[in-house]
Amino acid sequence: MTTPLLAARGISKSFGPIQVLDGIEFEVNAGRNIALCGENGAGKSTLIKLMTGVYHPTAGHVEVDGKPVVFPNPKVAIDAGIAVVHQEFSTLSALTVSENIFLEKEPRTRLGFIDRRRLKADAETLLADLGIDLDPGRTLDRLSVAECQMVEIAKALRTEARVLILDEPTAVLSSRETEHLFRILAGLIDRGMGLVYVSHRLDEVFEICTDITVIKDGGVTSSGTIADYDHDKVVAAMVGRDLGDLFPPKATAALPQPPALAVKGLVVESGLPPVDLEVRPGEIVALAGLVGSGRTELALAIFGAAQAQGEVQFLGESLPRRSPGSSLARGLAMLTESRKTDGLFPGASVGWNFAATSLGKDAQPYALSPANEERRAHSVVERFAVVVDDTGQPIDSLSGGNQQKVLIGRLLENAPKVLILDEPTRGVDVGAKAEIYRTLRALAEAGVAILMISSELIEVVGLADRVLVMRDGGIAAHLTGADITEDAIITAAAAGDAAGASLDRDPANV
């Protein structure tokens, strides 16, 4: 066995009392592409950050060429030949392509000034080498997301990197762009680089990886060459339990009621196709599709947080002018995609976060009622088993799963009739996920209409009664009953596939 280029040896990491990784063994070998799989929150990102000097292990160590090393900061890891393309980009939109690629590694003249001519030439050479067609002199605020991703990869490979770690690199790419990326990656493997490929998309993993390591709850559950695995084996290692345990049974009875939410010809952005959809009381409808297919934008437009042309009917009544406030007042509530960005009030207490949507709904419309707030917050804490000592505790001291429970509790405060949930289980541990699924199903059974956006196919397949697959801002397919499979969703979500597109174009007919 050859010495691995990079290895994690019994590596553990805790943040305060929370143990995120526990004794991880992981090897990256030359000319191989190892997939790192696991659910959100399993510890993949933490492992990558430990191997690239962003975090420091609480136990165990990192090895390069078989020798123990310490990376005090990312720069040292980069110098050791470990390159990483993070899920969050590190590109700077105010700088040009060439400035981005060679940031901190700018070619110098003899006097120590940046050699602008060589900077440009080097960038051109590198981009051509990778088969990327970009003008090195353009600033990144003029490039598409996919182009920025290419810059990110070029930047990672500007030095003699021997290991390249890619964290969800295709999340923002179209299928054509993904193919392009795979060609580039194949070339790198041929040159003897070691790759680490982190992805949720198992089809991609089987397409380009040679090895696989699955982690769950901070430990390695399974590891080996890809040939020994099939789809189900990977999923079983990731989830660690039967899907049946995770998801409550779906709705069985037909739903005779008129739709609670009906969208007709909604155009989110000029140039995008008009969207029609319906959600009836009692059903969970999932909006599936790739990141960037327009799901979040559609949800925000329905909720009234973004401008759009077209009609939205709520309980049979047309709502021409919508805003988050008016939607909430009518019983249309939304859970946003990013807790941190536009969900939580991070500096406020659990109680304040919980009460935010029901301010002024008490007997006295202008004055707060601390006693009522306290009582209701307690009832939510009990109902959703939120782990918290005191509702006066700042919300950012809670785990992601508990934060999400508070936000879901807040959504239900005004007894909504329609719920829009954008990635409701993101950054939530498996136990909390199961609770959230049960809650959503119970709500549906109580007559709430639920529209759920999710990138986790397991979740879409396991929970949704109907699935609308979005592609390029329009609805590409409509799946019901036994037709809801991961394959069908992926096929429809990927561009240009006739089979996926022909499934059903008009959900209103169903």
Partner: protein
């Protein structure tokens, strides 16, 4: 958990953190008063203490508004300009009638509305919006007065700023009423909660259906009105109207708000803290004079205090 510890010192809750900060400020004030009292017998006399309070009143008005804008992730650089303009306008428009206050307050509200409009609807950063209105207002004021403000100071001004009823300074009574109203608004009313939530996370505030643009405008309007009040009380106290009345108050009020626990990152601040900080600042100015230090030490002390306070709060919020 021990209930008393929770209320007074525990940093485990948001409220506990805030109580601890207020306790710290009060403690600091008590310490400097005691030490100075020991050093100089002239300090802890009722006359001197009430002088300090009356002197602090104009800053007290201004800092309440400034603190509110800072809670909303803003900053109001126009307060000093509003103070002077309100004073100049009021004294030259009417004589000895209640009208003087109305004109000044309307001006403050108007300037605040413009600031709020620029910030909420034109997406101009508060710093630049209020910088611009500050300069424009300054130009209007100087052009209006021709460089030298005329008009006499109505007697009503002098009375409100320096008069006493039953031995209690009138200005303090009015400040107390305004401060109590502001405190109730911020701590106990739905509006105040909305201000705090917006300051904590504007995007989340929008998604939870709060009337975000109206909140921003309202905060700036309140700041303008408080600045106008501060200006009127200041000229009443000083006795002379000047085109530069209130100069330096924009930065002093920011300093007091920060010392009082407000963070430029928003979502944090209290009326009580802001007033305590204003009182601490003015006390220190008084103390410098009383213990016979050169008056310039005031500026050094102010600077050190700002850094100290900002550093302490940052540590406590990270702890």
């Amino acid at each position: 958990m021990n209930g008393l510890a929770l209320r007074l010192g525990s940093t485990a809750t948001v409220r506990g953190r805030k109580s601890r900060e207020l306790l710290l400020l009060t403690g600091f004030l008590v310490v400097i008063w005691t030490v100075t009292g020991i050093l100089s017998p002239r300090f802890l006399t009722p006359q001197n203490l009430s002088d300090i309070l009356v002197q602090a009143a104009p800053l007290g008005f201004v800092v309440i508004g400034q603190m509110l804008v800072i809670v909303m992730r803003g900053l109001d650089l126009s307060v000093a300009s509003v103070m002077a303009t309100a004073a100049v306008l009021s004294t030259s428009t009417f004589d000895n009638t209640g009208g003087v206050f109305v004109v000044g307050i309307l001006l403050g509200a108007g300037v605040g509305a413009v600031n709020g409009y620029l910030v909420a609807y034109r997406k101009v950063t508060p710093f630049l919006a209020t910088l611009a209105t500050m300069i424009i207002l300054q130009g209007i004021r100087f052009a209006y007065t021709g460089g030298a403000p005329g008009g006499s100071l109505p007697d009503a001004f002098r009375f409100l700023a320096t008069g006493r009823i039953a031995g209690i300074p009138v200005s303090l009574m009015i400040l107390a009423v305004v401060a109590f109203a502001a405190h109730w608004m911020l701590e106990r009313s739905v509006l105040g909660r909305q201000f705090m939530l917006y300051g904590d996370n504007p995007a989340a505030a929008r998604m939870t259906g709060l009337p975000v643009n109206r909140l921003v405008v309202l905060a700036f309007v309140i700041s303008g009105v408080m600045a106008a009040l501060g200006g009127l009380f200041l000229v009443g106290y000083v006795g002379i109207v000047d085109n530069w009345t209130g100069r330096g108050y924009e930065l002093d009020s920011i300093a007091a708000a920060v010392i009082g626990g407000a963070s430029l990152r928003g979502g944090k601040g209290s009326v009580l803290g802001a007033l305590l900080a204003a009182l601490i600042l003015v006390s220190l100015f008084n103390i410098v004079v009383i213990v016979g230090l050169s008056i310039e030490f005031q500026m050094v002390i102010k600077g050190v205090l700002i850094l100290l306070a900002a550093g302490v709060y940052l540590r406590s919020s990270r702890a």
